[in-house]
Symmetry: C2
């Protein structure tokens, strides 16, 4: 297969697909809208999972597992929820197949029709709150801080690998609290966990904010989000944390007895991130040579490539390379030593650039003589010669520098792409040409929001948490506004 | 809720259910046949998962993820496979719901019927081999050593928590090889990994063997298994490893070019264990007071309970207990210090016995004065007083001893329950009264095997890998036999 990648300038969308497929992260499957996550892509997900799981546990959460299927009637119980989620979903109607009477293949057995159809979970609020009803009776049972790692299905019409697939992997936190204050605090705490993870691990700067009513999770009182900016100037919602009020407690009749012996409805939150994060990771940092992965999430952090002509030379390099590999691994650095003799060094260099390995160490016979190696950084392309002395420490520092550098680069790009504007002409022009976030006044009505979307394809990504009060006039209607909001075209 | 447990003697099956539900491991759900795995049960699964995943990676495997859905036609491609798996499964026929015209709830939208129905995976050989077709072209692409952690659905009519549920969690390894020898070696290697895990981590002795044609995996050439014995004398299949020959490669046309430039079909294996292991874990060791968990898989390995009357006493104990907890945790031991003042020590003792915590440390004011603690072992019930000196080392040793002891206990029970017999009367009597495995001669025909099952409810659990040649007569027909096989009633 050709490893050539379409450039971003030529076709951004094709560039993204090339990275996903040629980088070995994922593939289309035989099932419409569903992807296969290949080993290299899955190992990134494993790192994301392990890190977030540790962060969830450090903040007092435990994992559990709830059924894949949701009885159809459950979806109708929360009025807003059903509007948002019952539309496009996978519906199980039968529980048996049988041999076709004509002897050709198998057919659905019409006698095996379910009394009530089951929906493959698009999200689990309903089945979980139906369960919480049995688990919660007193304030002593609260808070309930539970997370689930699971697959979910939303029958999307237009799909893109990682960014929007019919089935995807995610985690969904579902917590129950005795007071509104505590639930709001939990919502904000998890938003903070997501923002820390995005910035410190994925090296993607994010803006914390809350959604307008139009963009809110179906069934939430408030939806908070972290918004990131991709290299094509489009925004991507990287995680959401919802304050659900008492909506699901009321829908599923989940009450508890307070310390004062009163019966009250329970307060709820839910929050999630998904394999979509891998899409964000790819688009935020990579270049026309392939992936650029932040060292903290890279499955292979260092690759060592031997440069040799004779078997003797290889034997000498093997010895030194193995020694370096061991000493790096002792520091928890993941290293691949690629001495496969079926491929030339040039091919390997291109291959690991494609795969986004942060550091490449090349070693030839002369390096061994001189006691040096050549180290190339994937993020900047810089090459330098380093002596063997303290090599492990140098590599550790370099990995830290790369992590910081790609964050800084993404941050600079993002900050250059937040444009404040007060005129409609400039608003339209920025969205069309400069792209990125536009900070503008809005009159607070859904009507205006939808009109702006119609005219420009931009949506309100969020109202920033740290937005300060400022009197102004709505960019479209000129009606009074008290705060700027962030618009952008989005994934 | 009453924490009283039905005794094994009174009703073994109810005892098991009591442990699962009152021990906080799992619960029934609103969806027929599907369970909710509660946090305590899920944390056991996380330990199983983490340990096995490390073992898989140490043997060269990587993880990936394939779609939840399988197109109906895929199931028909392997003739034996469809017979085994297409019977009872969840069938997705539609992809949309809509508001009911009568305004009451939602209905399946008849316009959103899928062209081809999708099956919720009961196992993934078909979708995976359909994918491998694109991944394998040359011997250079082999071996392909991939594992998947996933949920699967089999529409079982009779379900029991953990042991047999419509949806369960598992891992499924799917490997592809250039030669038959290599595939057979892989099959046996993974059987070995499962046996090691069962014995060294779960403390459950297992017999390695292979299945008769009747009990083979649908689509396999050979099915190898590990068989364990539960306390009621019934066998439980704890893991299987299948040599699939070229069956799936032929069904999905997966060929590769050999080193000699010939085109050949690929050889395959698959292997899996599931949340069923938790059922085995519960039944193998526990007693009438509750769960007994092997230290290596216990979510809480040590619980510390303070015994006090005054706040002052509690303050002193808090200080010492926190110190002990820290020093145990520094050794990687998971510790819970339960100083909740809403419950009495007696209640806590019963609670942690129920939950199977291997070691309980009780500390009162007199202990503090004497520089001692009282340690109770969950497996034997023994209590001893230990001085503070080297307490961490003592606890470490004790955990190792408990791990070994419960394995030995299970091994003794198992070995006492393997009965060699050569007469039909004794065969029937042992199965009915003594229970356990019966080692007997069988004439090698499926017909006889099924007749024996009809008459006794016992099946051939396996033909032991280390069974030696021995001339004899079939226990039922008297026809010649060259090897004994293991019969038992089974879960």
């Amino acid at each position: 297969m050709s490893k050539e990648i379409t450039s971003r300038a030529q076709d951004y969308s094709q560039w993204y697909n090339d990275l996903v497929i040629k980088g070995g992260l994922a593939d289309y499957s035989a099932v419409r809208g569903c992807m296969v996550i290949k080993p290299y892509g899955y190992s990134i997900w494993e790192k994301i999972q392990r890190t977030l799981d540790d962060m969830f546990k450090a903040t007092g959460h435990v994992n559990a597992y709830f059924p894949l299927f949701i009885p159809k009637s459950f979806l109708s119980k929360e009025a807003a929820h059903v509007e948002g989620f019952a539309k496009e979903c996978a519906v199980v109607t039968h529980y048996r197949l049988k041999n076709s009477p004509d002897g050709k293949g198998i057919i659905v057995d019409p006698d095996a029709k379910l009394e009530e159809e089951l929906i493959v979970r698009p999200t689990s609020e309903t089945i979980i709150w139906n369960t919480y009803k049995d688990w919660i009776t007193s304030y002593r049972d609260l808070p309930l801080l539970i997370n689930q790692w699971a697959n979910v299905v939303r029958w999307e019409m237009r799909t893109r690998l990682f960014l929007r697939t019919a089935e995807f992997l995610w985690q969904e936190g579902h917590t129950a609290h005795a007071t509104k204050e505590e639930a709001v605090e939990e919502t904000m705490k998890m938003l903070g966990v997501y923002a820390d993870f995005a910035e410190q691990w994925m090296a993607i700067p994010v803006i914390k904010g809350y959604k307008t009513a139009n963009e809110r999770f179906a069934g939430a009182e408030d939806t908070y989000c972290i918004e990131a900016l991709m290299q094509d100037g489009k925004a991507l919602q990287a995680g959401t944390s919802h304050f659900l009020g008492q909506n699901f407690a009321k829908a599923f009749d989940v009450k508890f007895v307070t310390k004062e012996n009163k019966s009250e409805f329970v307060w709820a939150t839910s929050w999630g991130v998904s394999t979509r994060l891998i899409g964000a990771l790819i688009m935020a940092h990579s270049d026309d040579k392939g992936l650029i992965l932040p060292p903290k999430l890279a499955p292979i952090q260092v690759v060592i490539v031997p440069i040799y002509k004779t078997e003797e030379q290889l034997a000498t390099i093997n010895e030194k390379a193995t020694e370096i590999k061991k000493s790096l691994e002792a520091k928890g650095i993941s290293v691949k030593y690629d001495n496969d003799d079926k491929q030339k060094p040039g091919w390997k260099f291109a291959e690991y650039e494609m795969k986004g390995v942060p550091i490449r160490i090349a070693m030839g016979p002369r390096d061994i003589e001189n006691g040096t190696v050549e180290i190339a950084r994937r993020d900047t392309g810089e090459k330098h010669t380093y002596s063997f002395t303290d090599l492990t420490t140098k590599v550790e520092h370099l990995l830290e520098q790369i992590q910081l550098n790609i964050f800084q680069k993404a941050l600079d790009y993002r900050d250059e792409h937040i444009t404040r504007t007060d005129t409609w002409e400039e608003f339209v022009d920025v969205l069309e040409n400069k792209t990125g976030f536009v900070s503008a006044h809005w009159d607070g009505t859904s009507e205006t929001e939808l009109k702006i979307k119609e005219k420009t394809k931009a949506t309100i990504r969020c109202i920033e948490l740290n937005a300060h009060a400022e009197e102004g006039k709505c960019i479209l209607t000129g009606n009074p506004s008290h705060k700027r909001v962030l618009f952008a075209k989005a994934y």
